[in-house]
Symmetry: C2
Subunit: 170 residues, 2 copies
């Protein structure tokens, strides 16, 4: 992934407003990857306290949120029962996340994040700026622009937690 | 402040792209205010561990970042020596922040955040979307759109930390 740029502007291959949104998604992702660079499996699995999520679980959460919003924004649907079961520990975090989201190297999380992001970017490249403003049939209070901003916003919030947790890995 | 909406779209009183950015700034701020609602001065000053920033210090940081970016984006200048001295503990956080940023009630932080935000919104209302894309003379690697997104982005990152810290206030 290239270094983040410090500009938001139309990007080649995307409609103008979508390009600015892609710039935000990219910046958020690059700062997440920077925040976890070089972590070992033990560090990814470390639990700061009994109610803490591991850094690895937070990475799985970031991926699951992006996959969930993919359904809602691009496929106009909520999750299937199978998806719900697969994503539930990562979406909800907490005890189930602590039990299940572990024993994976950094490369696993990075690959999963990259796979989810590729789908998002392919779908965005095929849409126009009018699409970005429409309400979402599967979540009528939201429009697509907010939903995709929220994908970055939730990632940034957890990246703040990851930085805090990483500084205390000892 | 109104409840956050879950739409990003042009807003009355702002150029279209600026309106979407204002929607992001507002959403980030509302979630910060929700994250600190009802906290006492003792809770705002609480230090989770020896290297932690208090929630109050993080609120002061969010305000200082917005005031700093006001200079850089709207006034095309870096900070004066007086501003640098005034904002340094909140911008840098750490030991000086722990020493100086305390003993203030929630209302103080909320008022300061509101004052800084009012200036930002007034300045944005007076500008157009072309302005948003220009490079910043005081920070040439950035354009104004990125700089103001970063104001929200930094706030969201620290709001993630505030939520984590609040959940452990006991």
């Amino acid at each position: 992934m290239p270094s983040p740029t410090f500009r938001l502007e139309p990007l080649p291959g995307y409609a103008p407003t979508i390009g600015r949104l892609v710039g935000m998604l990219r910046y958020a992702r690059q700062t997440t990857l920077d925040a976890v660079a070089g972590l070992s499996m033990a560090e990814l699995d470390h639990l700061h306290d009994d109610s803490s999520n591991s850094i690895g679980a937070l990475l799985a959460h970031i991926e699951a949120v992006e996959r969930g919003y993919y359904c809602v924004t691009f496929e106009d649907r909520t999750f299937s029962a199978e998806e719900q079961a697969a994503w539930e520990p990562a979406l909800t975090l907490g005890a189930e996340g602590r039990r299940l989201l572990r024993d994976k190297p950094l490369e696993h999380y990075v690959q999963q994040l990259s796979d989810a992001r590729r789908l998002t970017l392919e779908a965005l490249a095929a849409r126009d700026d009018d699409w970005l403003e429409r309400s979402l049939p599967a979540a009528p209070a939201m429009n697509a622009h907010f939903a995709l901003f929220h994908v970055a916003e939730d990632e940034i919030s957890h990246r703040g937690q990851i930085r805090w947790l990483r500084a205390r890995l000892g």
